[in-house]
């Protein structure tokens, strides 16, 4: 470890988190492609700067809601990555005991209230979480992640109005990777975009380069500071790019290869690494951080493959107390 300032140490931690997310996603995609992880994963490679830049400003007591592309949010909030990898593989010991999978990862111990398989569904949930926090006088806020596709759903409009109306402590994070599944979102979205829509409901909006984690961190720090001070909801429109397809096996043939290649040139991890090197952090230390992240996630994947399947009886537990399955 180089002798560093607190600020540099904090940036190194952000680099580590981004590297861990990317390594997790690479293992998840490989596991999906090989069939070792059943079902579907929606990788967030290229979007790590948004998750990490926001969550670097959250405390453990703060809550987040997430999306189908939610591995990065969970890891950035401090979720147990090993349990997540087991969950992706449907194994006992997974975050949800193998009953949720990639799209339903939750880790309530760190305030991660759940990924969601329905676009925009986390928005009302985040509003209610913030209302409960206020009612119980908890010192916490809610960060609500959703994609650009969500701005065309009704709950987006409802939630913006609702949060502004009750001045709720929510940071809405529109993680705009440009694509709503296979469709370029600009091709199906009229008007001035997410920030304009949020402001129309009275939620102040800020646009940020989501591929610059330090920019996201700075803006998130400001917005979250306002929310904690009682200013009500804030909206962060973070522009980024989804390097992979919609899922781990989608080749994304609907977009030019050069566009995806260009996004790799704006890589949030490499950009932060360059800043750190300019600040005097040794290249070897950065390589070490990335290697350690890769080793950690490879080890989790190996652990997942070795983990037992859930007891079949677990298929019938945690349904409900009254009238539970016979």
């Amino acid at each position: 470890m180089s002798g560093t300032s607190n600020e540099t140490a904090r940036r190194i931690a952000m680099l580590r988190d981004m590297a861990r997310i990317r390594a997790f996603e690479r293992e998840a995609v490989a596991a999906m492609r090989s069939g070792e992880a059943p079902g579907v994963v929606h990788p967030s490679i290229g979007q790590e700067g948004v998750a990490v830049g926001v969550c670097a400003n959250l405390r453990r007591a703060d809550r987040i809601t997430s999306t189908h592309r939610g591995h990065g949010h969970a890891i950035a909030k401090g979720a147990d990555a090993r349990a997540m990898m087991l969950e992706l593989h449907g194994r006992a010991g997974g975050s949800c005991g193998g009953k949720g999978g990639s799209m339903h990862i939750a880790d309530f111990a760190v305030g991660m209230l759940g990924a969601n398989g329905v676009v925009g569904a986390g928005i009302p949930i985040a509003c209610g979480a913030a209302q409960a926090i206020r009612l119980t006088k908890e010192d916490a806020i809610v960060a609500c992640f959703f994609g650009d596709g969500a701005v065309n759903r009704g709950p987006f409009l409802e939630g913006m109005n609702w949060a502004a109306l009750y001045r709720l402590p929510v940071l809405f994070v529109c993680e705009d990777n440009g694509f709503a599944a296979f469709t370029r979102n600009s091709a199906v979205t009229a008007g001035g975009g997410p920030a304009v829509r949020a402001e129309a409901c009275g939620v102040p909006a800020t646009v940020v380069d989501g591929e610059d984690v330090l920019a996201v961190d700075a803006v998130a720090a400001d917005l979250i500071g306002r929310i904690r001070a009682g200013a009500g909801p804030q909206f962060l429109h973070a522009k980024c790019y989804r390097w992979e397809g919609h899922t781990g096996t989608d080749a994304a043939a609907y977009r030019p290869a050069e566009e995806a290649q260009a996004a790799r040139g704006r890589d949030a991890i490499r950009r932060l690494a360059a800043v750190l090197e300019a600040e005097g952090v040794a290249g070897a230390e950065i390589i070490g951080i990335e290697a350690q992240a890769a080793a950690e996630m490879a080890s989790h994947r190996a652990a997942a493959l070795a983990a037992p399947w859930p007891d079949p009886g677990a298929a019938y537990t945690d349904v409900q107390d009254a009238g539970a399955p016979a």
């Binding site: 309530f108 209610g128 409900q320």
Partner: protein
């Protein structure tokens, strides 16, 4: 015991629960103004507008915010105004609330109540009169309750609020002003325990919600010795009591306001047949609505309405087959 309306019984029960537990709160349209049936009257004065929350007409967020609030440790009472409006919040109810506990491996519970007054009421026509209980009994994760008396309106609401499960409470709009005796100290009514409304050996009759007083009147007037069960909750429901009765009487009539086709009566009949065996019933009938929307005109609505006379006729038919 005090005689009061269905709405007043429900109002007092919620007030008592809110006094007992500061984590209980309610959200929905026009609640500060008392709710459209007066079932929240005066509660904002006592509990303030942070616990009796009037919301925008935003059904998805009324429902979804209730879930988020439950996941953060409070016990929300979600008011949908009428059951038909729940259709604007079905994702939040069916794919979120009903499933979070399961999907997250038990990490979170949706301990909340969804109140959705349902059924015919004062010629409200096709979009404000539906009985959709069968949709919701089909959804794993949900408890579904449907009170038919003021006492049960109170007791089931108390049970719903204290339940750790998400509970859908389908209150019959047509009975808000019906009167009945209500205990001064309301105890929770356990889900899955029917109210044995009348005893008889000739015919087992099963009903719930708005048709409860209709069936009770018909049982008195029909001259048939009916064994009447007001199910009170539809999931779970009191299969054991109904099957035992049907085994004894050998005849079964199910009465509900909802459309008969794929209605919950079909489930009741199927389970009773499984319970008593294929030859165990000499007579069986379901009496519900035709597969048509509810019309507006009183002349048309009354034609579709389940009346005591229609129920009594069905009782006689089934008892004598």
């Amino acid at each position: 015991m005090t005689r009061m309306t269905f709405a007043e019984a429900a109002r007092r029960a919620l007030a008592a629960e809110m006094r007992r537990d500061p984590l209980v709160w309610a959200l929905g349209e026009d609640l500060v103004q008392g709710g459209i049936f007066g079932q929240y009257r005066g509660l904002a004065d006592e509990f303030g507008t942070e616990r009796i929350v009037s919301t925008p007409i935003s059904e998805s967020t009324i429902m979804g915010a209730g879930l988020g609030a439950a996941l953060c440790g409070t016990r929300p009472v979600i008011e949908m105004r009428i059951a038909d409006f729940t259709l604007c919040a079905m994702d939040e109810l069916v794919s979120q609330i009903a499933k979070v506990r399961y999907m997250f491996g038990g990490q979170g519970r949706a301990s909340l109540v969804v109140r959705m007054p349902q059924g015919m009421w004062r010629n409200s026509a096709a979009q404000h009169s539906q009985c959709l209980e069968a949709w919701l009994t089909h959804i794993p994760g949900l408890v579904v309750a449907a009170p038919g008396t003021p006492a049960d309106a109170a007791g089931l609401l108390v049970a719903a609020i204290r339940s750790d499960d998400p509970v859908v409470l389908m209150e019959p709009k047509n009975l808000w002003t019906a009167e009945g005796d209500v205990p001064d100290d309301v105890a929770p009514i356990p889900f899955g325990v029917a109210r044995h409304a009348a005893s008889g050996d000739a015919l087992t009759v099963v009903t719930w919600s708005a048709t409860v007083p209709v069936v009770e009147q018909a049982a008195r007037e029909s001259g048939v010795a009916c064994d009447v069960f007001d199910l009170r909750s539809l999931w779970p429901w009191d299969e054991a009591a109904v099957i035992a009765s049907a085994r004894r009487t050998g005849r079964l009539l199910v009465v509900h306001e909802a459309v008969t086709v794929s209605g919950f009566g079909a489930e009741v009949v199927a389970r009773v047949v499984e319970g008593v065996g294929p030859g165990g019933l000499r007579g069986v009938e379901r009496l519900g609505a035709p597969r048509a929307p509810v019309p507006f005109s009183p002349a048309l609505e009354d034609a579709m309405r389940i009346s005591p006379a229609r129920v009594a006729a069905a009782m006689k038919r089934v008892a004598t087959t």
